[in-house]
Point group: C2
Chain length 209, copies 2
């Protein structure tokens, strides 16, 4: 992850904020109104001191001894992470994986609105996946520019992922969620996150017998 251009908050801190937000949303769903760094820490397996230190980067949000108002802290974290708005997301790849992604309700529920879907397979172009019409990859640049899309998900085979990333970045995309099992080369000001469940499994088998 490139350095934060606006301030010097470590990326590892930023990476924990969505985890805090998710836990707060869960606590609210359970009917709780107030929590503490201790309770959050226990849920997350993170020390309460770490949580307080992370949040202090953004001004604290809690009063000594009274804990955190959950809805207030949720709002503040959404603001910091800029997820207090709707983000449009382009999805490239309309195979099994792309279809599963388009079908997944969790994105829209948490503010990420898939707005267009692309593929290079003539058999898939023009078909409908959920509410989307699959469009040819040749129209990616135009669509990204017209709709001012900053985020894209890549769900194409590994051998096409870099070319797709290059196309998206050239059109103005600045954040990529890459499901293809390959590392992408991107400019310094573009952000990439990877979803590869096999890599996650392989990281654990090391510890098994």
């Amino acid at each position: 992850m490139p350095p934060n251009p606006r301030n010097d908050i470590p990326d590892i801190v930023i990476g924990r904020l969505p985890i805090y937000l998710r836990a707060l949303t869960r606590l609210a769903q359970e009917g709780k109104e107030v929590t503490s760094s201790h309770e959050l820490g226990k849920r997350l397996g993170i020390s309460s001191a770490q949580i307080r230190k992370d949040l202090s980067h953004f001004g604290g949000f809690g009063k000594q001894g009274t804990g955190y108002q959950i809805s207030y802290l949720e709002d503040k974290l959404r603001q910091v992470l800029k997820v207090n708005r709707e983000w449009k997301v382009a999805l490239v790849g309309a195979g099994d994986l792309g279809r599963a992604i388009a079908h997944y309700q969790g994105f829209a529920q948490r503010g990420f609105h898939i707005c267009c879907m692309f593929d290079n397979d003539p058999a898939k172009i023009g078909t409908s996946v959920d509410n989307f019409e699959v469009k040819p990859v040749e129209t990616i640049a135009e669509t990204i520019r017209e709709q001012n899309i900053q985020i894209a998900m890549i769900a194409v085979p590994a051998e096409h992922a870099q070319a797709v990333a290059d196309l998206l970045i050239a059109a103005g995309v600045r954040a990529l969620l890459n499901y293809a099992p390959i590392n992408l080369n991107v400019p310094q000001d573009v952000y990439v996150q990877y979803i590869d469940p096999v890599v996650r499994l392989q990281r654990m088998t090391y510890y098994l017998d």
Copy 2:
């Protein structure tokens, strides 16, 4: 991640090994036979010094000046990560997500063989997903013990994930890949990895305008 019981190699190093392995497999597919820490580093956005240091924990594998024999390094990393064998994996949850996971070919291709699938919905129990018959959650413990399964994937709604994890762990599972958007509380000797694409997106929006 709990400390490695067998040695003192940092977990962050272990976490990079599957990424190296993936890149090596890719290089081999491109027809290359030899690579260098420099070439690997360029592909991965990791310094060549870091790669050499990581690999030196396991004895090196390369000769000064001649680089790495790709197939040899692949074999060695598979051995270190214990992915030079087939792992049986239990899958809990036969909804849209569970079905997409069962359908994904990438697990079996890279040594993870989903061997059983469970759900608590009477409408799903007994149905077939790919080659699996969905079994009732009540049979999880028996199946895990009989087949000596150490790894499970959780693809159930957030509110059921902890109970499912408890059940799996009690039956002997030691590594969990959790797709439910919730942190799990597990004993020290159990490993958990999380797949939550929304958390990954939220980590990037912080940097966008």
